[in-house]
């Protein structure tokens, strides 16, 4: 059984539920926003870190490390310069290097990026907790015009093994399938990873070469068309790639290999440690995150202020009630506790309701966010940091509720048994 004061506060609040429910809803929405901002922030970071969990270095043409990282791993931002195939071969031959995954980007399929790579990708690429890629069905590409789809691509476009798809040049904004003359057959569909891999169409490096045989400088060569059947007659070894994901025999060698690459003699290259580039990214967007969090905290403050105002406004109509309680022996500090408990209880309900709303919203929005941003929204238990935020909201609510509590205390002392209303 509830302690009498808690029960009394609960029954009294229930009696005024119409007025109080709106203000509780305001608190709930503000808490949802606060936790939502925090959760999105954590998941963007997690998502990024999980996307490159096995790579020691990302190698590309010299330029901005962040740009290379964002484009080659997350398919975000501008294309970088290319790396000569001979450099990839030299890199692979380096004694400290365990494996290399060359990747070539630039084309797309119905808005989803196309990534050309080789079998090393399926063998060595790691995501999440250093998990390898797994096929949900089918097999990796073997022939030239074969494609392996990320889970989200297959789901969203309802593709199955054996379906034929056409690729578009560039990001595919035009909606034209410029490579329609050389369709691909879906031979494999990857299991879901919660990373940009899910949104990617994978083809072989040879295929990337093949569909661009009759292209030059980013446009089809007028009057020249090489049918799909004849591409095998050409040399399909890639000339350049966008970037190379590198795994080392030992992490201890990471700085010496990085130095070797940064001083590479044949062309200007750059080796990026994914962790360092991400740290740079977080530093860049850290201020924005903080501002967003501060705004959300302010919104929670406004919500709690509204709640306190409603409790305070109701006080005048409850002076009779407080006088009755005093008459049957309630001490002024019981009255203080009663009003403070009410505010605290409403804050707790608002905060928990906010958490529930956020969970529901996450469930509803998860497919959209996954499709648009490659982020998997988790809907599990709140993280430690979220719990801290919730505790902060509830403590603030408690402190704010002392105000109506204190006011009721004063009123009940002044009124005694005969309220002046």
């Amino acid at each position: 059984m509830m302690p009498p004061l808690v029960r009394l506060a609960a029954l009294s609040a229930w009696n005024r539920r119409a007025a109080l429910s709106l203000t509780v809803l305001a608190v709930a929405l503000s808490v949802m926003m606060l936790l939502g901002v925090e959760r999105l922030r954590e998941q963007v970071r997690d998502g990024f870190e999980q996307s490159v969990s096995g790579a020691d270095l990302i190698v590309g043409a010299r330029g901005s490390p962040l740009q290379l990282m964002l484009y080659s791993v997350f398919r975000i931002g501008e294309a970088t310069h290319n790396v000569q195939w001979s450099s990839v071969e030299a890199l692979t031959a380096h004694p400290a290097v365990a494996w290399t995954i060359p990747v070539s980007l630039g084309d797309s399929h119905r808005g989803y990026p196309v990534l050309a790579t080789n079998h090393a990708y399926f063998a060595h690429f790691r995501h999440g907790d250093r998990r390898p890629l797994a096929l949900a069905g089918g097999r990796a590409f073997d022939g030239v015009f074969e494609a392996v789809l990320g889970a989200e691509v297959a789901d969203a476009l309802d593709y199955r093994l054996g379906d034929r798809i056409a690729l578009a040049h560039g990001s595919g904004e035009s909606g034209l399938a410029d490579h329609a003359d050389k369709p691909f057959t879906v031979t494999g569909i990857l299991a879901r990873t919660g990373t940009p891999v899910d949104n990617t169409v994978h083809i072989s490096l040879a295929a990337m070469e093949a569909i661009h045989l009759d292209w030059q400088g980013g446009a089809p060569i007028p009057g020249m068309q090489i049918p799909a059947e004849y591409v095998q007659k050409f040399d399909l070894e890639p000339k350049t790639v966008t970037a190379v994901i590198v795994g080392l025999e030992s992490r201890a060698a990471v700085f010496s290999v990085q130095r070797w690459i940064n001083n590479f003699h044949a062309e200007p290259l750059m080796a990026v440690l994914p962790g360092v580039a991400l740290a740079q990214l977080w530093q860049m967007i850290g201020h924005g995150e903080k501002a967003l969090l501060a705004i959300s905290a302010l919104v929670v403050g406004v919500g709690l202020a509204g709640l306190v105002a409603v409790v305070l406004a109701g006080l005048d109509q409850r002076r009779r009630e407080l006088a009755i309680l005093r008459a049957v022996g309630a001490r002024p500090r019981d009255i203080l506790a009663l009003l403070t408990l009410e505010g605290l209880g409403l804050t707790v309900i608002g905060a928990l309701l906010g958490l529930v709303l956020l969970t529901v919203l996450s469930l509803v929005a998860a497919p959209l966010v996954q499709a648009r941003f490659g982020l998997s929204l988790t809907t599990g238990l709140p993280s430690a940091h979220e719990l801290y935020l919730l505790a902060g909201v509830i403590i603030t609510g408690f402190i704010a509720s002392l105000l109506p509590g204190w006011r009721a205390y004063r009123v009940s002392l002044a009124d005694g048994l005969t309220p002046k209303t």
Binding site: L11, W14, V328, G329, A330, D334, L417, T418
Partner: protein, 228 residues
């Protein structure tokens, strides 16, 4: 002779410098029922708040059940009130959102003594409600669903639960029609006698005085005479 329930000597109280109460002497014996007449503004409410330990006199003796109330700290006076006093107001006596039974049980939440003296509190509440002629079908209703007359009987049951030694009733019948006034007075005086409680019945309606053995007019004993 047993000690009086209430003993007042040279009691003075003023509101912001304006004298309100000045009572030379007043005593109430055990089991005694007194009708205290006072027109509005004669200081009835102030005396009530003093007896209940909510207000403290500026000067004089105020001893209730052997305890000198003015010398007790605020919390101790609150506990004293919870333990030994039953109060009934003119109207709006009940917490509207609680059931009839919960309203009657309220004093037992704030006073361990009354909880003990009530024994099985729910059974005692039920017995009191039956004595006060309240249909059991009403007991689980919200207090504000009852008629004024019914509410006053619930308030009487609440004042009587746990057998406090002193019942103070402030115009408890003024919202009732004449028939119901009589019925309520019968019930209240009978129950006070049954539980051995002394009763101070305050009213501006002289007509009711006839039912009491002892009648006192506040203007007669209050030398300050005026009150805000």
């Amino acid at each position: 002779m047993p000690a009086p329930v209430v003993s007042v000597a040279g009691l003075r109280f003023d509101w912001g410098g304006t004298p309100c109460l000045d009572i030379a002497a007043f005593e109430l014996a055990q089991n005694e029922q007194v009708f205290l007449y006072g027109p509005s503004g004669s200081g009835k409410s102030t005396l009530l708040n003093l007896l209940a330990g909510v207000l403290v006199p500026r000067a004089g003796e105020l001893v209730v059940l052997g305890a000198a109330l003015p010398r007790l700290a605020g919390a101790a006076r609150d506990r004293f009130r919870a333990d030994h006093l039953g109060l009934i107001f003119q109207q709006f006596n009940l917490i509207p959102y609680l059931s009839v039974l919960d309203n009657v049980l309220l004093p037992c939440h704030f006073s361990a003594r009354r909880r003990e003296r009530a024994g099985d509190a729910k059974q005692t509440a039920a017995r009191l409600l039956v004595h006060l002629d309240l249909d059991p079908a009403l007991w689980t209703r919200r207090a504000d669903a009852l008629s004024v007359g019914q509410q006053q009987r619930v308030a009487a049951a609440r004042a009587l639960i746990g057998a406090p030694e002193l019942i103070v009733a402030d115009e408890p019948t003024s919202a009732l029609d004449a028939d119901r006034q009589d019925a309520f007075l019968d019930l209240l005086t009978r129950e006070c006698a049954a539980s051995g409680a002394a009763l101070v019945f305050v009213s501006h309606d002289r007509r009711l005085a006839a039912r009491f053995a002892r009648t006192l007019a506040l203007p007669d004993i209050n030398r300050a005479g005026v009150a805000p």
